[in-house]
Amino acid sequence: MTPLQICLLTSALLFATGFAGAVTRRHAILVLVGIELMLNAANLNLIAFWRFGPNPEALTGIIFVLFSMALAAAEAAVGLALVIAIYRHKKTSNLDEVKELKG
Protein backbone atom coordinates (compact mmCIF):
# COMPACT_ATOMS: atom_id res chain seq x y z
CA MET A 1 0.00 0.00 0.00
CA THR A 2 1.55 3.19 -1.10
CA PRO A 3 1.62 6.22 1.16
CA LEU A 4 -0.73 7.88 -1.21
CA GLN A 5 -3.25 5.15 -0.74
CA ILE A 6 -2.85 5.35 2.99
CA CYS A 7 -3.48 9.07 2.86
CA LEU A 8 -6.42 8.61 0.63
CA LEU A 9 -7.91 5.92 2.79
CA THR A 10 -7.46 8.10 5.81
CA SER A 11 -9.23 10.93 4.16
CA ALA A 12 -11.99 8.55 3.00
CA LEU A 13 -12.46 7.30 6.51
CA LEU A 14 -12.50 10.83 7.85
CA PHE A 15 -15.06 11.78 5.26
CA ALA A 16 -17.22 8.80 6.18
CA THR A 17 -17.01 9.72 9.84
CA GLY A 18 -18.01 13.24 9.18
CA PHE A 19 -20.86 12.11 6.95
CA ALA A 20 -22.03 9.62 9.53
CA GLY A 21 -22.21 12.30 12.12
CA ALA A 22 -23.92 14.73 9.82
CA VAL A 23 -26.73 12.37 8.98
CA THR A 24 -27.07 10.69 12.32
CA ARG A 25 -26.86 13.32 15.06
CA ARG A 26 -29.82 15.29 16.19
CA HIS A 27 -28.21 18.56 17.08
CA ALA A 28 -27.82 21.15 14.33
CA ILE A 29 -24.32 22.21 15.36
CA LEU A 30 -23.08 18.66 15.16
CA VAL A 31 -24.23 18.53 11.57
CA LEU A 32 -21.99 21.51 10.95
CA VAL A 33 -19.20 19.77 12.79
CA GLY A 34 -19.63 16.83 10.50
CA ILE A 35 -19.53 19.12 7.52
CA GLU A 36 -16.26 20.61 8.79
CA LEU A 37 -14.82 17.17 9.07
CA MET A 38 -15.88 16.36 5.55
CA LEU A 39 -14.27 19.51 4.26
CA ASN A 40 -11.10 18.67 6.09
CA ALA A 41 -11.10 15.23 4.55
CA ALA A 42 -11.38 16.80 1.15
CA ASN A 43 -8.48 19.15 1.95
CA LEU A 44 -6.39 16.18 3.05
CA ASN A 45 -7.18 14.47 -0.17
CA LEU A 46 -6.03 17.48 -2.10
CA ILE A 47 -2.76 17.79 -0.22
CA ALA A 48 -2.09 14.10 -0.65
CA PHE A 49 -2.61 14.33 -4.37
CA TRP A 50 -0.41 17.47 -4.47
CA ARG A 51 2.37 15.81 -2.61
CA PHE A 52 2.32 12.51 -4.42
CA GLY A 53 1.24 13.94 -7.71
CA PRO A 54 3.42 14.69 -10.75
CA ASN A 55 4.12 18.38 -10.26
CA PRO A 56 4.19 19.54 -6.66
CA GLU A 57 6.32 22.54 -7.62
CA ALA A 58 3.35 24.30 -9.09
CA LEU A 59 1.83 24.59 -5.63
CA THR A 60 -1.59 24.09 -7.10
CA GLY A 61 -2.73 21.86 -4.32
CA ILE A 62 -1.64 24.32 -1.66
CA ILE A 63 -3.47 27.18 -3.22
CA PHE A 64 -6.57 25.07 -3.66
CA VAL A 65 -6.51 24.06 -0.07
CA LEU A 66 -5.99 27.60 1.09
CA PHE A 67 -9.02 28.75 -0.74
CA SER A 68 -10.98 25.77 0.50
CA MET A 69 -10.08 26.63 4.06
CA ALA A 70 -11.20 30.20 3.56
CA LEU A 71 -14.44 28.98 2.20
CA ALA A 72 -14.91 26.51 4.96
CA ALA A 73 -14.42 29.24 7.50
CA ALA A 74 -16.92 31.51 5.86
CA GLU A 75 -19.38 28.70 5.54
CA ALA A 76 -18.98 27.71 9.17
CA ALA A 77 -19.62 31.27 10.22
CA VAL A 78 -22.74 31.63 8.21
CA GLY A 79 -23.98 28.19 9.17
CA LEU A 80 -23.55 28.81 12.84
CA ALA A 81 -25.26 32.16 12.47
CA LEU A 82 -28.15 30.26 10.88
CA VAL A 83 -28.26 27.79 13.72
CA ILE A 84 -28.40 30.62 16.21
CA ALA A 85 -31.15 32.32 14.27
CA ILE A 86 -33.15 29.09 14.11
CA TYR A 87 -32.61 28.54 17.80
CA ARG A 88 -33.90 32.00 18.48
CA HIS A 89 -36.97 31.43 16.37
CA LYS A 90 -37.96 27.88 17.27
CA LYS A 91 -36.39 27.68 20.71
CA THR A 92 -34.84 24.35 19.79
CA SER A 93 -31.77 23.14 18.02
CA ASN A 94 -33.23 19.74 17.36
CA LEU A 95 -33.17 19.13 13.64
CA ASP A 96 -36.07 16.69 13.90
CA GLU A 97 -38.34 19.54 14.81
CA VAL A 98 -37.23 21.90 12.08
CA LYS A 99 -39.44 20.74 9.24
CA GLU A 100 -41.14 23.82 7.95
CA LEU A 101 -40.57 22.57 4.45
CA LYS A 102 -42.41 19.30 5.02
CA GLY A 103 -44.85 18.25 2.38
Binding site: T2, P3, L4, Q5, I6, C7, L8, L9, T10, A12, L13, L14, F15, A16, T17, G18, F19, A20, G21, V23, T24, R25, R26, H27, L30, V33, G34, E36, L37, N40, N43, I47, A48, W50, R51, F52, G53, P54, E57, L59, I62, I63, L66, F67, M69, A70, A72, A73, A74, E75, A76, A77, V78, L80, A81, V83, I84, A85, K91, D96
Partner: protein, 191 residues
Protein backbone atom coordinates in the same frame (compact mmCIF):
# COMPACT_ATOMS: atom_id res chain seq x y z
CA UNK B 1 7.49 7.73 7.89
CA UNK B 2 4.52 5.50 7.72
CA UNK B 3 4.53 4.70 11.47
CA UNK B 4 4.30 8.31 12.45
CA UNK B 5 1.84 8.94 9.76
CA UNK B 6 -0.35 6.04 10.72
CA UNK B 7 -0.20 7.00 14.36
CA UNK B 8 -1.24 10.54 13.54
CA UNK B 9 -3.93 9.28 11.29
CA UNK B 10 -5.30 6.96 13.94
CA UNK B 11 -5.39 9.76 16.48
CA UNK B 12 -7.18 11.99 14.02
CA UNK B 13 -9.70 9.38 13.16
CA UNK B 14 -10.40 8.44 16.76
CA UNK B 15 -10.82 12.07 17.68
CA UNK B 16 -13.14 12.55 14.75
CA UNK B 17 -15.17 9.49 15.74
CA UNK B 18 -15.33 10.79 19.25
CA UNK B 19 -16.34 14.20 18.02
CA UNK B 20 -19.25 12.66 16.24
CA UNK B 21 -20.39 10.26 18.88
CA UNK B 22 -20.07 11.95 22.26
CA UNK B 23 -23.19 13.03 24.07
CA UNK B 24 -21.94 16.29 25.47
CA UNK B 25 -21.62 18.86 22.78
CA UNK B 26 -18.70 20.69 24.37
CA UNK B 27 -16.78 17.44 24.47
CA UNK B 28 -17.56 17.06 20.81
CA UNK B 29 -16.18 20.47 20.08
CA UNK B 30 -13.01 19.72 21.98
CA UNK B 31 -12.55 16.44 20.25
CA UNK B 32 -13.08 18.27 17.01
CA UNK B 33 -10.20 20.57 17.89
CA UNK B 34 -8.03 17.54 18.54
CA UNK B 35 -9.02 16.14 15.23
CA UNK B 36 -8.11 19.35 13.48
CA UNK B 37 -4.75 19.28 15.20
CA UNK B 38 -4.17 15.77 13.98
CA UNK B 39 -4.95 16.83 10.46
CA UNK B 40 -2.50 19.70 10.84
CA UNK B 41 0.15 17.20 11.92
CA UNK B 42 -0.58 15.16 8.80
CA UNK B 43 -0.18 18.25 6.72
CA UNK B 44 3.19 18.89 8.32
CA UNK B 45 4.36 15.37 7.55
CA UNK B 46 3.31 15.88 3.93
CA UNK B 47 5.64 18.85 3.54
CA UNK B 48 2.70 21.30 3.44
CA UNK B 49 3.82 23.33 6.38
CA UNK B 50 2.01 26.52 5.53
CA UNK B 51 -1.27 24.65 5.13
CA UNK B 52 -0.69 22.92 8.42
CA UNK B 53 -0.20 26.13 10.29
CA UNK B 54 -3.08 27.71 8.48
CA UNK B 55 -5.13 24.74 9.60
CA UNK B 56 -4.23 25.39 13.22
CA UNK B 57 -4.94 29.05 12.86
CA UNK B 58 -8.19 28.84 11.03
CA UNK B 59 -9.76 25.66 12.19
CA UNK B 60 -8.61 25.19 15.70
CA UNK B 61 -8.26 28.85 16.46
CA UNK B 62 -11.38 30.13 14.84
CA UNK B 63 -13.82 27.50 13.81
CA UNK B 64 -13.62 25.33 16.86
CA UNK B 65 -14.01 28.40 19.03
CA UNK B 66 -16.90 29.50 16.90
CA UNK B 67 -18.54 26.19 17.39
CA UNK B 68 -18.13 26.44 21.14
CA UNK B 69 -19.62 29.93 21.01
CA UNK B 70 -22.58 28.65 19.09
CA UNK B 71 -23.06 25.80 21.55
CA UNK B 72 -23.18 28.28 24.35
CA UNK B 73 -25.50 30.60 22.47
CA UNK B 74 -27.93 27.79 21.77
CA UNK B 75 -27.81 26.64 25.37
CA UNK B 76 -26.71 23.17 24.43
CA UNK B 77 -23.95 22.97 26.99
CA UNK B 78 -25.63 20.36 29.20
CA UNK B 79 -25.51 16.71 28.41
CA UNK B 80 -28.86 15.81 26.94
CA UNK B 81 -30.72 12.97 28.61
CA UNK B 82 -32.69 11.93 25.59
CA UNK B 83 -31.27 10.16 22.61
CA UNK B 84 -28.78 12.10 20.61
CA UNK B 85 -29.54 10.25 17.45
CA UNK B 86 -31.99 11.52 14.93
CA UNK B 87 -34.88 9.43 13.65
CA UNK B 88 -33.93 7.14 10.82
CA UNK B 89 -30.24 7.16 11.83
CA UNK B 90 -29.85 3.60 10.63
CA UNK B 91 -30.51 4.74 7.05
CA UNK B 92 -27.78 7.29 7.50
CA UNK B 93 -25.34 4.61 8.70
CA UNK B 94 -26.20 2.51 5.70
CA UNK B 95 -25.61 5.38 3.33
CA UNK B 96 -22.34 6.16 5.06
CA UNK B 97 -21.23 2.60 4.66
CA UNK B 98 -22.08 2.76 0.99
CA UNK B 99 -20.14 5.94 0.54
CA UNK B 100 -17.12 4.61 2.36
CA UNK B 101 -17.17 1.32 0.52
CA UNK B 102 -17.30 3.13 -2.73
CA UNK B 103 -14.50 5.49 -1.92
CA UNK B 104 -12.34 2.75 -0.52
CA UNK B 105 -12.86 0.49 -3.40
CA UNK B 106 -12.11 3.33 -5.80
CA UNK B 107 -8.91 4.14 -3.99
CA UNK B 108 -7.71 0.57 -3.75
CA UNK B 109 -8.59 -0.51 -7.23
CA UNK B 110 -7.70 2.60 -9.07
CA UNK B 111 -5.03 2.33 -11.68
CA UNK B 112 -4.81 6.07 -12.16
CA UNK B 113 -2.95 6.75 -8.96
CA UNK B 114 0.64 7.91 -9.41
CA UNK B 115 3.14 5.23 -8.50
CA UNK B 116 6.30 7.19 -8.05
CA UNK B 117 6.81 9.78 -5.43
CA UNK B 118 8.14 13.14 -6.43
CA UNK B 119 10.92 14.77 -4.40
CA UNK B 120 9.91 17.07 -1.57
CA UNK B 121 8.68 20.39 -2.93
CA UNK B 122 9.62 23.84 -1.85
CA UNK B 123 6.36 25.03 -0.46
CA UNK B 124 7.71 28.13 1.20
CA UNK B 125 5.60 31.04 2.18
CA UNK B 126 7.38 33.14 -0.35
CA UNK B 127 6.53 30.80 -3.12
CA UNK B 128 2.96 30.64 -2.01
CA UNK B 129 2.76 34.39 -1.81
CA UNK B 130 4.33 34.72 -5.21
CA UNK B 131 1.89 32.36 -6.74
CA UNK B 132 -1.07 33.93 -4.98
CA UNK B 133 -0.23 37.35 -6.18
CA UNK B 134 0.53 36.46 -9.72
CA UNK B 135 -1.17 33.42 -10.88
CA UNK B 136 -4.11 33.22 -8.54
CA UNK B 137 -4.78 36.86 -7.88
CA UNK B 138 -8.33 36.69 -9.23
CA UNK B 139 -9.46 33.90 -6.95
CA UNK B 140 -7.82 35.79 -4.16
CA UNK B 141 -9.89 38.86 -4.79
CA UNK B 142 -12.99 36.81 -5.15
CA UNK B 143 -12.31 35.04 -1.92
CA UNK B 144 -11.92 38.40 -0.29
CA UNK B 145 -15.26 39.43 -1.63
CA UNK B 146 -16.83 36.21 -0.52
CA UNK B 147 -15.46 36.55 2.95
CA UNK B 148 -16.83 40.03 3.19
CA UNK B 149 -20.22 38.85 2.07
CA UNK B 150 -20.13 35.94 4.46
CA UNK B 151 -19.27 38.15 7.33
CA UNK B 152 -21.99 40.60 6.59
CA UNK B 153 -24.45 37.79 6.01
CA UNK B 154 -23.61 36.09 9.27
CA UNK B 155 -24.09 39.31 11.14
CA UNK B 156 -27.38 39.96 9.47
CA UNK B 157 -28.69 36.48 10.11
CA UNK B 158 -27.67 36.36 13.72
CA UNK B 159 -28.61 39.93 14.45
CA UNK B 160 -30.99 40.14 17.39
CA UNK B 161 -34.26 41.77 16.36
CA UNK B 162 -35.21 45.11 17.83
CA UNK B 163 -37.77 45.06 20.61
CA UNK B 164 -41.15 46.28 19.32
CA UNK B 165 -41.74 50.02 19.82
CA UNK B 166 -45.35 49.53 20.92
CA UNK B 167 -46.07 49.63 24.60
CA UNK B 168 -46.49 46.28 26.29
CA UNK B 169 -48.67 45.64 29.36
CA UNK B 170 -47.97 47.77 32.40
CA UNK B 171 -45.38 46.66 34.79
CA UNK B 172 -43.38 44.48 32.44
CA UNK B 173 -39.99 46.04 31.84
CA UNK B 174 -38.48 46.11 28.36
CA UNK B 175 -35.19 44.21 28.62
CA UNK B 176 -31.98 45.87 27.44
CA UNK B 177 -30.67 45.32 23.99
CA UNK B 178 -27.63 43.16 24.42
CA UNK B 179 -28.94 40.79 26.99
CA UNK B 180 -28.36 37.15 26.35
CA UNK B 181 -31.65 36.27 27.91
CA UNK B 182 -34.66 36.11 25.62
CA UNK B 183 -37.31 38.75 26.36
CA UNK B 184 -39.86 37.63 28.93
CA UNK B 185 -43.19 36.52 27.48
CA UNK B 186 -46.24 38.65 28.36
CA UNK B 187 -47.75 35.94 30.48
CA UNK B 188 -44.55 35.38 32.36
CA UNK B 189 -44.11 31.79 31.17
CA UNK B 190 -40.66 30.44 30.65
CA UNK B 191 -39.74 30.27 26.97
Amino acid sequence: MPIAFILTAVVTLLAAAAAMSLRNLVHCALMLAVSFSGIAAIYLQLNAEFVGFTEILVYVGAIAILIVMAILLTRSGETPDKSVLTSGWMAGIVVTVFVFVLLGWAVLNSSALPQTMAPAPHATVKNIGDVLMTKYVLPLEIIALMLTAAMIGAVVIAYREEAPKTKREEGIPIPPRDSLLPPPSPTGEKA
